[in-house]
Assembly symmetry: C2
Homo-oligomer: 333 residues x 2
């Protein structure tokens, strides 16, 4: 961290992206950056779709901040590259030449671009480029599975915390009770579909998925990931409760629109657990909502890191062609 | 709910505050409203300390919305009153004539004022008034203990979710491990002091309290609620980690300023638990922070409702004169 002093890399204004590594670091030759959806949408709107202006903005941000950290959205993205140099004390276990993707945000990854982003037209969030990035001792990155397309692997890595935490929560419930019912809000999205598959793999029964429209209902039914699909607006707590008609031991929130906190709480049994993966979650709406409803539910902030999360997600995809097809359709659009 | 249709009372624009009750409701004769600190501060700033203007604003809000729900802060407060009529199906167990305080926010409590707030000068968040309020079947309220001053009881009810959830989290850890260390950020505030007392009562050892200045250090040491007091800025993760020097099984965040998420995560052991009670908590800072730090910690949204929370908090105060003194000094300032 160059400035300000005392903060961690994510909160920093500027990072040191020089080429030399410390003994516990790894340098990666970057081949591709993936801006996160919120960041690219903001850039696209600000520059009214002008590709050259978007490119200049991103180039300028990386040069100034030493990382790709959108000032408006506060978000970054991830990168793909090849391990170039590994410090002797690095705990990450990589070897030079391995192809990897980062699992932590670009907002905390030192980055320098060498080709001026000249091969990118600014019209897509995927940037083919050349440069280098530095991984710290605690930076997470995953080896890209050689049997899966890169774009699919990236889509998997992007949300791999969700299935891992879902599995853990369901497994803990099943230590204490014989059955565990699971409701997934936003079940046809990437993290939602993964959560359904993980809940089933962990032994949940039934698994019910909520989707907002007919197209997603069809996609989810075809994928055969849940015992029942319910069509409802998760932002309307009363309508949602009426549509799902029972309360669940575990509710997983994967909907990417704000305002689903009360519906999730109301659909969860007393003593149950709500896991919020959606970045649109409002902390105070959840805390005050549960209190206002006298709901004795455990509410978890969906931590994107669980040890072994990337391997578990890849294993789910390898084992289930339906899940794979659904994820591929989400990654490609 | 009068409008909009389909939302729960807290999210409603307007509630029906008429006098008649449904069979599962309770009507309360209101004697006092306590605006929450954030709401009163906002009103005070907006009207530049003009008491009459503040009063007009509050009167207008209650008349228009059927509840005291500050439009800017989104917050409310609580009320004290006497039970006037109890519907035959009310599950709350109150009898007419009992003096109670609400434990849920005024933002979801139908309220009508009869005296035009004429006895309030607008210069304090405590409003002596006359009117009525309606409690729903699931509205929480507590009988005021006759052996404690009303202001102290209100202070206790205000934060009673914190000690109850702290006790539960520590007790669950101690089922699986022999010792449980607890760190409390903002330990000299109301919810912080309560969390320290509850952690100790549940068997945590050691309990370490973090405070931001000398005055709070002295107050906390005098109260003898913790094994060690540490002076540090909880917003500075690196400084905090250096000051506390170890990682804890459980970290409780009671600091009422933003930006403490990363410090709390970094001070917590792998496999540990962070409980966020502060309404200043940022959901995304916590979720992305833990991921960025590769921290395998369970992060809980501090649910203000745990069954029996008010009784447990009152019992802690009755049993510990030091805790009582510290709370009294916080309530009186």
């Amino acid at each position: 961290v160059i400035s300000p002093v005392g903060v961690l890399p994510q909160a920093a204004e500027r990072l040191d992206a020089s080429e030399e590594i410390w003994p516990d670091e790894v340098r990666v030759r970057v081949e591709r950056l993936n801006l996160d959806a919120a960041s690219y949408r903001q850039l696209h709107e600000q520059h009214r779709g002008d590709g050259a202006a978007i490119r200049d903005d991103v180039r300028e941000t990386i040069a100034t901040r030493g990382k790709m950290h959108n000032r408006v959205t506060g978000s970054g993205g991830m990168l793909v590259g090849t391990v170039e140099e590994v410090g002797r004390d690095s705990p990450l276990g990589f070897l030079p030449g391995e192809r990897i993707a980062t699992l932590v945000s670009l907002t905390m990854t030192p980055l320098r671009i060498d080709d001026g982003l000249d091969h990118w037209d600014g019209h897509s969030p995927q940037i083919s480029t050349d440069g280098h990035a530095i991984l710290f001792a605690r930076s997470l990155a995953g080896r890209l599975p050689s049997d899966l397309p890169t774009s699919l692997s990236l889509g998997i890595f992007d949300v791999c915390g969700a299935p891992a935490l879902t599995r853990r929560v369901v497994a803990e419930k099943l230590k204490r009770q014989r059955y565990c019912s699971v409701l997934v809000l936003g079940a046809a999205g990437k993290s939602g579909a993964f959560s359904c598959a993980a809940a089933r793999a962990a032994g949940a029964d039934p698994v019910v998925g909520v989707v907002p429209n007919e197209a997603e209902r069809e996609a989810l039914e075809q994928a055969d990931l849940v015992d029942k699909v319910v069509l409802a607006d998760a932002r309307d707590p009363v309508a949602l409760a009426e549509a799902v008609r029972e309360s669940f031991d575990v509710t997983i929130v994967c909907v990417d629109v704000p305002g689903c906190e009360h519906g999730a709480i109301l659909s969860t049994a007393q003593g149950g657990t709500v896991v919020f993966f959606s970045m649109s979650t409002s902390f105070s709406a959840a805390a005050l909502g549960a209190e206002g409803l006298a709901a004795d539910v455990t509410m978890l902030i969906g931590n994107g890191y669980v040890p072994g999360h990337a391997d578990f997600a890849v294993s789910l995809v390898r084992a289930d062609d339906n899940l794979r097809s659904l994820l591929e359709s989400r990654v490609m659009r």
